[in-house]
């Protein structure tokens, strides 16, 4: 009796696991239920090798074709308590660039944040944690130029153990970090317990 029930549960669990896995990376380039968007068109401007770095203009839009992200960028600063500002509830379909971080495409770690969800709908970075190494990210800048990044790593951190230096610290090449919430949701505090950080580097 137990055996049969146990086997049924195992079979169900395995099927569920297979379906979850199937829904995300196995179906590259497009995940189930995602309206993928085309990669933006335009000249991708990477710094030529062995030229002094030129100043790059401000970022204005973000596209992640694989997970259907196509958004204008807000500009975000710090709250009075030193925490990173986030887009307001009315703008959960927008991502924002932290103006205290390097500009995307310039040397350094540019920071873009977005919500995973609102009170009753998905946010701009709902599927951020399904990105995998090698996936492409595009940022359009105020002068119309595009910069292309490729995902190098996707990590989930408990907010209590957020690796500030890894995420915000200096790096010697043009990189991007996309940040959203993830992990378990604590209904008592109305906060997710973790952050998902996507690390990406400019395609050069």
């Amino acid at each position: 009796m137990f055996l049969a029930a146990g086997l049924l549960v195992v079979a169900g669990g395995t099927a569920g696991l297979l379906l979850t896995r199937h829904g995300t990376p196995a179906l590259r380039p497009v995940a189930l239920g995602v309206n993928a968007v085309p990669a933006p068109t335009g000249r991708i401007v990477a710094p030529p090798p062995s030229a002094p770095p030129r100043p790059v203009s401000r970022p204005v839009a973000l596209t992640i074709p694989l997970i259907g992200v196509q958004t204008k960028l807000m500009y975000l600063g710090l709250n009075s308590d030193g925490a990173l500002q986030v887009p307001p509830l009315s703008m959960i379909s927008f991502a924002g660039w932290y103006t205290g971080s390097p500009r995307p495409g310039a040397i350094g770690s540019a920071i873009i944040v977005g919500h995973i969800d609102g009170y009753n709908r998905a946010g701009v970075f709902f599927r951020l944690n399904t990105l995998r190494r090698g996936d492409r990210i595009y940022v359009r800048r105020a002068d119309g130029t595009l910069v292309e990044f490729r995902v190098t790593s996707v990590q989930t951190y408990l907010k209590d153990h957020f690796p500030t230096e890894d995420v915000y610290g200096p790096v010697p090449d043009a990189e991007l970090r996309l940040i959203t919430c993830g992990g378990a949701f604590d209904p008592a505090t109305h906060h997710y317990l973790s952050n998902v950080v996507v690390y990406a580097a400019e395609v050069g």
Partner: protein, 286 residues
């Protein structure tokens, strides 16, 4: 008997599939380090009277070059290249020389994950050497870092000031200072030397790391400002509050609930098969 063996096989198969599918997924979800096992290297030519060179980067023990920079002339510094951590060798050949010819000089460099290095041809041509410099990737909050490489042969010893701060009072040719912590801003950097002074305006933002290179120019000294690294000058505190929970539990991609279900099922099945075996077998016709 037959059915029990089948059950055991089925269990093993399921356990194996759970291991195969479940463990890597869980490991990815809980990895606590962003380390991708890569570091950075940049190559520079800082020997004033040495002609242009081709610079080769080899993974140790591999004769196929990983990176080749052609016609690197005095004063050139490449952008940083991202490479897998490990042992490498850097070789310089005169520009245009065959890649199979013996290099003018070469050196080994060990690249650690998450660290950055500058490998520079330094000194006069007669005493040319490849020097490996460790490049700093951490700044005190709200500050910047600046160091100086003295690559002028015409002026063997120079004094370098950053605003009112003396970075080096007597810096000899082909040497480098350690990094100095500086207040962010735009300041005048002055190089004082016997053959004449040079100055330039340098902007250092908080959270950035710079190397100033003193070079022999066509008309006196020149100062090159290299950005070694940049981050957020004021790193935000703690995590980021980017969710309201409206679709919590429906987030895509998590394997954990299914893994828990499999574990419960396995436990049930194992309990079932163990207790089942201990019980006396029912006989027909009883």
């Amino acid at each position: 008997m037959k059915s029990s063996r089948l059950t055991r096989r089925l269990l093993m198969l399921l356990a194996a599939s759970a291991l195969l599918l479940g463990i890597p997924a869980a490991a990815t979800a809980f990895a606590s380090s962003a380390t991708t096992g890569t570091g950075w290297i940049r190559l520079a030519h800082l020997s004033p009277n040495t002609p242009a060179v081709d610079v080769y980067l080899y993974s140790f023990g591999n004769s196929n070059a990983k990176i080749v920079l052609h016609h690197v002339a005095y004063g050139d510094a490449s952008p940083y290249e991202t490479v897998t951590a490990g042992d490498y060798s850097v070789a310089m050949r005169l520009a245009g020389a065959s890649s199979s010819s013996a290099p003018v000089l070469s050196t080994g460099v060990t690249i650690a994950a998450g660290h950055a290095y500058t490998v520079a041809g330094m000194g006069p041509e007669s005493g040319l050497r490849l020097q490996v410099l460790d490049d700093d990737l951490t700044t005190p909050s709200g500050r910047g870092l600046v160091r100086v490489i003295q690559a002028s042969l015409k002026d063997q010893t120079v004094k370098v000031t950053y605003g009112s701060t003396v970075l080096a009072s007597s810096l000899a040719f082909a040497t480098v200072t350690s990094y100095h912590t500086v207040t962010p801003g735009t300041v005048t950097v002055t190089v004082t030397a016997g053959g004449g002074d040079a100055n330039t305006s340098v902007s250092v933002a908080a959270g950035t790391v710079h190397t100033l290179v003193v070079l022999d120019g066509a008309n006196g000294l020149e100062i090159d400002n290299l950005t070694d690294a940049a981050g957020s000058g004021e790193p935000p505190g703690g995590g980021v509050t980017t969710g309201f929970g409206g679709v919590a539990g429906h987030g895509p991609g998590s394997a954990l609930p299914w893994l828990a279900l499999i574990a419960v099922g396995l436990a049930l099945a194992v309990t079932g098969s163990l207790t089942g075996r201990k019980r006396p077998q029912p006989r027909h016709g009883f």
